[in-house]
Subunit: 200 residues, 2 copies
DNA sequence: GGGAAAATCAATCATATGGTTGATTTATGA
DNA sequence: TCATAAATCAACCATATGATTGATTTTCCC
């Protein structure tokens, strides 16, 4: 029995529950069908209580965006390290993303849905852009490290290469958690194009 | 003066105008903010007239999906030809997509928006999947032709490579029409990874 | 020219939806 | 213990929204 009937929770806990409920609904029905009523109902509270904790729908979306980003960040591997083998780090980076798609598909799905309102919600757009750039930058650094280590081609352009790889992997976001079968083949094929020497 | 006040148009023409209006609104405000009233207003007609031509909102979305796909298909280059140079065909394929993003950003933007409702609208999902697979298949064929011509690596796996390239290019969809600066660098970097011999 | 079919519109309906109000219940701390 | 603050809820409000109805205007074609 983990659910009380009327647990008068603290604001932080309740906001967390609200964010989870909203994220689940966005995953199931899409952002366009997100209703504050449904969020409250899924969270097991009254709509008034929802508005007590989250004043407006825009604030609810912002809350979802922030908590989703934080959950994503928590799943990332350690930041790139010039002393570690670049291919290992590249694979670890991709593996962390792969596992997030497999184990927490609501995160990528939620990001994809939030993308569609970024055009009219500058705050959301800024958050998404910041996260995407940060994510891509990790790949840029790993690729640069790999060049210095001599494992990636000397004429590789780290930024376009990182954009290509993150773009290719991001395409699996909407297909998660099923539809990941081609994830590693795509990664392997892309990585092979980056290598300085063709594997025998 | 191309606009009459009350041009009693034929159903086909009116449906085309309605589809264009809806696509423009989806591009501007996102699918979540799409309102039948706004579509009618943008098309210069009464909401009743809208419903006379397109019975429900779901039918409107289906109409948008179909017309968007058709517009996209019309912009594609000739189908892959084993007799033509593969690199030229690959670049032509990418250029057609690039130009569609530059000149008709509403098409890719609309596709991205429609993707978000595919989870609850099987018909939309089927249309999008079919188009995406067809698009990817063109790249698979060009890559296969290129292998036979000896311009691409013999150990290249066409399907994963095509998924990687289309995924990387698709990432530019939401950024169009601005934000295309890295399009060709990303293409060039990816293509270089496919080549059999490193350019000197 | 004139009648039928097609297209359009003003007015309206039923419901959905984000948000508010004021009372009520529970937790907190002096 | 008990007054105060925090959290919750039932009922309600104002507007948004998809869709309908019935009358009106235009086009088609014989």
């Amino acid at each position: 029995m983990t659910e009380q009937k009327h647990p008068y929770l603290r604001k932080d806990q309740r906001r967390t529950m609200i964010a989870e409920a909203a994220r689940a609904l966005i995953l199931e029905k899409g952002y366009a069908a997100l209703r504050t009523r449904d969020v409250a109902s899924r969270a097991g509270i009254n709509t008034s209580t929802l508005h007590f904790h989250v004043p407006t729908k825009a604030a609810l979306v912002a809350l979802v965006a922030e908590t989703t980003r934080d959950s994503f960040l928590a799943l990332l591997p350690p930041v790139p390290d010039p002393k570690q083998p670049a291919r290992m780090q590249l694979r670890a980076e991709a593996a962390a993303y792969h596992d997030s798609l497999r184990d927490h598909p609501e995160l990528a799905a939620c990001f994809a849905q939030l993308h569609q309102i970024a055009g009219t919600e500058p705050a959301i757009a800024q958050m998404l852009d910041g996260f995407t750039q940060n994510w891509c930058q990790r790949y840029v650094e790993i690729l640069t490290i790999g060049q210095k280590q001599g494992v990636f081609r000397a004429d590789l352009h780290p930024l376009p290469a990182a954009l290509a790889l993150t773009g290719a992997l991001a395409a699996f976001g909407p297909r998660a958690p099923t539809g990941l079968a081609m994830f590693w083949p795509v990664f392997d094929e892309t990585e092979r194009g980056f290598l300085a020497t063709q594997p025998h």
